[in-house]
């Protein structure tokens, strides 16, 4: 189980990396932490001609707070996210979700950008980005564009990134104080990819009326999904066990292209989507202040 041959380059600046990617076209692949790409190489399921290592580019691994937004560079390691005091305080959902990503040795290498760009439908980060209405900063030799998370995840392992484009950062709007949050997932073993997962943000008024709901599912379809029908159903309604149950029941309908594998059939995952959505809503509701 050895990787096929490929070239390797170690650009020292973003511009150099972008120029290389643009010159080599789709056969060149950016290498971030490698925790998804290298297994695929070892299994010879990926065959790039050139790997462009992003680890030596200065400035891609910073965590910054700027007016109501936390900005994470694409090369921020997942372990750094897990340990970052600023993130723990302002975006606790992200910190919690990170602890569900693989195991510590994986998170020591794995990056924020790598996970988002890999777009595994069972991974936590894409769903978190979706729930948080994050914006993805994309650069290419010809300039920069910003893609909302809801437009970024297109299909199984497929994003809106065009050849030559590189995800350089993710901007996360800090949820207002009092926002309830939760992430729930069903996995076969500790650290495994989710068979069904839900990430939720909730805000409510003093009388318990839902002001804002964001529900993102992962592990159930070919890409992470927002359950907008449930969000609409809840918004403006009192948050009760009943309304939460009804909203969660709408999760199933959001699943257009269900996933299925040896660990769980489409039917099981669909059924579990409702369970994790309900449990996450209940937990977020408990956490939500008024």
């Amino acid at each position: 189980m050895k990787p096929p041959p490929f070239g390797y380059t170690r650009p020292r600046s973003l511009d150099e990396a972008l120029a290389t990617l643009s010159t080599h076209g789709p056969d060149a692949r950016p290498l971030a932490g490698g925790q998804s790409l290298i297994p695929l190489l070892n299994l010879r399921l990926a065959r790039p001609s050139l790997l462009v290592d992003l680890a030596f580019i200065p400035g891609l691994a910073d965590v910054q707070a700027e007016n109501g937004t936390v900005v994470l560079g694409a090369m921020v390691r997942q372990r750094a996210v897990e340990r970052d005091a600023l993130i723990a305080q302002r975006v606790p959902l992200l910190a919690e979700a990170t602890r569900l990503v693989g195991h510590p040795p994986i998170r020591n290498r794995g990056t924020v950008g790598g996970s988002l760009a890999h777009a595994d439908p069972s991974a936590e980060y894409p769903a978190i980005a979706l729930a948080l209405d994050a914006e993805l900063v994309v650069r290419s030799a010809s300039g920069e564009r910003v893609v909302p998370a809801r437009d970024f995840f297109v299909d199984l392992f497929t994003t809106a990134l065009a050849p030559g484009e590189l995800l350089t950062a993710v901007r996360i709007p800090v949820p207002p104080p009092g926002t309830g949050w939760a992430i729930q997932e069903i996995a076969r073993r500790h650290g495994d990819f989710a068979l069904a997962g839900a990430a939720v943000l909730l805000r409510k008024t003093g009388d318990g009326t839902c002001e804002h709901a964001a529900i993102a599912l992962f592990g159930v379809a070919t890409r992470p999904l927002r359950v907008t029908a449930a969000e609409h159903a809840l918004t403006g309604q009192p948050l009760t066990a009943e309304s939460i149950r009804e909203a969660a029941a709408l999760a199933v309908e959001a699943i257009d292209e269900p996933l299925s594998d040896v660990h769980g059939s489409a039917a099981y995952r669909q059924r579990m989507a409702e369970v994790v959505a309900r449990r996450a809503l209940e937990e977020a509701n408990r956490r939500a202040g008024t």
């Binding site: 189980m1 010879r44 076969r188 073993r189 650290g191 040896v262 099981y268 579990m272 369970v275």
Partner: protein
Amino acid sequence: MTLQVLPRGKWLGARVKRVEDPRLLTGEAKYLADITLPGTVHVAFVRSPHGHARIRRIDTAAAKEMPGVLAVFTADDVAPLPPLASGLPVEGLKPTPQPVLAREKVRFVGEAVAAVVAESRYLAEDAAEQVTVDYEPLPAVVDAERAMQPDAPILHEELGSNIVYQKTTTLGDIEGAFAQADHVFRRRLHTNRFVAAPMETRGCISVYERASGHLTFYASTQMPHMLRLFLALFLGIPEHKVRVISPEVGGGFGQKMTIYPEEVVVAYLGKVLGRPVKWVEDRRENLAAATHAKEQIIELEAAVRSDGRILGLKARLIGDGGAYSFNTASALIEPLAGAALIPGVYDIQHYQHEVIAVCTNKSPVGAYRAVGWTAAQTARELFFDEIARDLGLDPAELRRRNVVSPEQFPYTTCTGMVYDSGTYRESLERALELVGYEELRRRQAELRQQGRYLGVGISLYVEPTAWGSEIALQAGFPFPSHDNATVTIDPSGKVRVAVSVHSHGQGHETTLAQVAAEILGVSIEDVVVEHGDTDRAPWGMGTYASRSAVIGGGMVALAAQEVRQKVLRVASRLLEVAPEDLDIQDGTVFVKGAPDRSLSMFQVAFAAYLDNRVRAEGEEPLLSATKFYDPRATYSNGCIVTVCEVDVETGLVRLDRVVAVEDCGTMLNPMIVEGQVMGAIAQGIGGALYEQMAYDEGGQLMTDTFVNYLLPGAAEVPPLTIEHLESPSPVTIGGIKGIGEGGLLATPASVAGAVLDALAPFDARIERLPLTPERIVEAVGHS
């Protein structure tokens, strides 16, 4: 028998730290992959992507042109090598010889079709991709019952059927038992195909010296001498010119007791190419092509009295043998061994079983810890749980009413096993006490009111151990037994113990040294245990089937005892006292009652070798003895109780704890016994909840990585409580019984039983393992 009771002093029975550990802890130990000889070239196998296909043509031209490639071999290039076939013919078992490289047809995904040799494994894999095989895909059959149907695709056309063995045996008065029954119950269980998956995969290195015609073969194997014999026969090299070295081995669990096609091919490549040829199996190959295990379809029918007494049992066991039944008669071993153990610890004298072995388009089946017994135990214990539920009896009570009682020993089962001694009932009571059974039942009722589902599973087992020839016969699988130990004291007084049993994690270098040290009266630091090299170890069959503590311990005891007598004889001449008046402790031979009249072991040994004055006429001066031991049959036993909670909405199971009470007779080293039990329990948890080799209808393997084939990790295995009962065997040296397999024999039943107990309010019935979250949710939903 002179050694019915072994001396227990400083070493025997003590929790001695393992002597092998420092080299393992520091990374100094050399496993197969760590050995690289000058000039080594590397093999990658081209393997079948189809479950069943005809090979039309193989084109190796492009591969041969690839950089660094020395050779590409296909079936035609290894024509002199005979196919692997059952070395021990079993009456009624049809032969299904397996070519060492596929010829004409492939019959499972992962079957080796060609071997590429290159300067590195990287280059070999590059070239393997360039071998083009033109396949004509054939319909595959992956279900054993489907394979039995007349219109099923046939794997071995010359047999005309996929059924390679079918036999019904009736013991006692089965019709009478059913005629007397108040109730007749039935249950079917299709156990999962799971695998040993040792952390170290298979591998071998073939080094052939053309001038001398010597083959040195390094292999990660449990049976070096057997491998030497078969390599000699397959390759036509005289046996005395073949040396097999099994270096540090990273786990076997039965998977490495088979002679594999790859080993024969690599040995041959080394002979033909004249350079060291190395193959290290990767994990994908290991999961696809190393032997699978434990899949059976078992149907049980019980004649039961209203009070819960089981009067008779009928069983039908279908072994899903995979594509070939090769040198351990592997397709048959699962159902045949299983059938013999269906009655288990229970006093059931009327029993009928039908054993069927079937070929399917899956990897061949081989031994994996408690071969055959895991499936049988799981099917019977889950069945008994169900009978208890249906009769409104506590499952523990049902077991009490049927278990063999202490006064019945020696107890002969209807299948012909002779249970020598044990604590069958006591282990049940003790395990229930340890787990707090009564309190758990109260708690269970309380939690159910809150919509929470706690479960308790009980698995009461007997484990045939000490695979000598007698137990093999009793367990229904006639298999020879021949093992030897050589104990030698060298002139400086240090002790070498060379044994034919092989250690790949079991710690023989410690336990067998404990035996020798205790008998010889020396420190364990003055003893070294050698194994795994056919040039250094005496002949024997190696390690499998919980045999090494009994056979290894017994033969070392016998040899050490003889050497001790020699030492005493020599010392008696030096000290001028009778040998009976001497004792040895801490490396000093002394006169009993006059400890100042003494000699060091060094003085005695030196004199024995080099001072002809102490040598009696005709006496062999060497302080060495080689002893053989083929033990009588002996049986370990125990009870494993699992406590779990099931989330009935998601199907997730949280194991709370596992309690194991085991009885393996006299323990050489309780620490090692506990390690064996705990490791086997973890494997059983894997088998009950996580592990399954899955094939799709077309014969495609869905689980060829550790992403899809799930081994339990530290977070999945709960705290384990082990307690020992010790009823020494009356029939073995020292009363030792084996301990290797009980944990995996009994745990799947215990864990699955706990889950089903939790689901009792839903009357959940499950026919297939493992209990995945999806299966649990379905079972709850169908209530």
